[in-house]
């Protein structure tokens, strides 16, 4: 099938939001380096940060092949309103409860997204998605272990995680904010769409959380945190970008 201009625009939109999610959450995860509640968790969040930033690079490289600027320019020279990450990933790391619940919700969504994209008709993305699918397995495995451990840890840990689930469910739903070209992407076989992804995600995370003993808010009673995909962000993103690009900005032309 020949891609029309709309297909290409939709594909770019998809790649940008995935790459931006990985880059920004990767940066946030890296903020746990040196601060984890125990050494293994410090290392886990740092490793996941490294995976995500590596994955964002591979996605930015696909965008470059589609005619966008090189990865460093794209990653380090845009302002917050040019980013397509979901608002969920840009929020500060907060406490371990928030970071763990975000990690659980987000990584299950990404794992399913990569699974769906392993079959995309856009072959370069299929290859990358197949690769990411294996890597992210360790992220969801890690999240599941700790969500379960803390459910069994006693009323305090259970209560903190349950509260974080309640408080952040709407932010998690914001991951699935539909793009402008959903129907074109679905029709061309590029991507099954955000609605399909959300359904599959719910079918995965709700029973899993319930099996650990948590309750999950109802989708119909929860307002999703929308806007991130269209460049509308919280006041937390720009300071993150300023920090992330601080060294790059000293000499943008420097050869590394």
């Amino acid at each position: 099938m020949e891609f029309t201009q709309k297909h290409v625009l939709g594909l770019k939109e998809l790649l940008y939001k995935m790459a931006d999610d990985q880059l920004i959450l990767g940066h946030r995860n890296s903020e746990w380096t040196g601060l984890g509640p125990m050494l293994e968790e410090d290392i886990s969040f740092s490793s996941m940060a490294q995976d995500k930033i590596g994955q964002s690079l591979a996605l930015f490289e696909l965008l470059q092949e589609l005619g966008e600027s090189d990865p460093d320019t794209v990653a380090f020279t845009r302002n917050d309103n040019q980013f397509h990450c979901s608002q969920f990933v840009e929020l500060p790391i907060g406490g371990y409860d928030f970071s763990l619940v975000r990690h659980f919700f987000f990584d299950h969504a990404e794992a399913i997204r990569f699974e769906m994209l392993a079959d995309t008709v856009f072959e370069p993305l299929a290859m990358v998605a197949k690769k990411f699918k294996g890597e992210i397995k360790y992220h969801t495995m890690h999240a599941d272990i700790f969500m379960k451990k803390l459910a069994e840890g006693g009323p305090e840990s259970y209560g903190l995680i349950q509260q974080a689930i309640n408080d952040n469910f709407g932010l998690a739903l914001g991951i699935f904010e539909p793009g402008e070209y959903e129907s074109e992407l679905i029709e061309a076989g590029i991507f099954g769409g955000e609605n399909a992804l959300q359904s599959r995600w719910l079918a995965k995370v709700v029973p899993l959380l319930e099996s650990f003993g948590y309750t999950v808010p109802k989708v119909e009673n929860t307002a999703p945190a929308l806007g991130g995909r269209k460049g509308i962000h919280t006041h937390h993103l720009q300071p993150l970008l300023d920090e992330m690009t601080e060294v790059f900005s000293i000499d943008p032309g420097a050869d590394w």
């Binding site: 290392i43 995976d51 690079l57 990358v128 690769k131 699918k133 294996g134 495995m141």
Partner: protein, 159 residues
């Protein structure tokens, strides 16, 4: 000709695990040569975020230059996705020699049991426990052997 080049690449060790060559690690996915001074090599990343990738590209280039090749192209590609079943038998033994538990052969999926059940590279006991699926590098997990009381690292299986 291909074999000559492969033999050269077999002398290049992984920068993070000096007992295993990049060929035994299974990351050399393509070697092409016109039989003269031209050679094309494709590497596939173990993990997308692996910082050793650029170093390995450079090591391959340097090695080829050293042996008189002049028209060299070394690139990283996702065309063939690496997984731990691509590590050779020799490579698995080399990992163990470095004190890393070799990854179990997988059948296309990884479950937690595979990791919890890692044999100790020092005493071969299966009486071990998983400490964390993440370790000092992206490709390693951390374990503890309840038999010989050593902490050890595993090279984690990847599909």
């Amino acid at each position: 000709m291909k074999n000559t080049i492969k033999a050269l690449l077999e002398t290049i060790m992984d920068p993070e695990i000096p007992t295993i060559s990049i060929v035994d690690l299974g990351i050399v996915t393509r070697i092409e040569s016109n039989g003269k001074k031209q050679v094309r090599v494709e590497l596939t990343p173990t993990f997308s975020g692996c910082p050793a990738l650029k170093i390995m590209e450079q090591l391959v280039t340097d090695k080829l230059v050293e042996h008189g090749y002049t028209d060299i192209e070394v690139k990283t590609s996702f065309n063939k996705q690496w997984n731990t079943n691509m590590i050779s038998e020799k490579g698995l033994a080399a990992l163990k020699k470095h004190g890393l538990a070799p990854p179990a052969k997988h059948k296309g999926y990884i479950e937690l049991d595979v990791l919890s059940d890692t044999p100790c590279p020092y005493c071969n006991s299966r009486n071990t426990e998983l400490q964390s699926p993440f370790g000092p590098t992206l490709c390693r997990s951390m374990h503890y052997c309840k038999n010989c009381l050593n902490a050890f690292e595993g090279f984690k299986p990847l599909v």
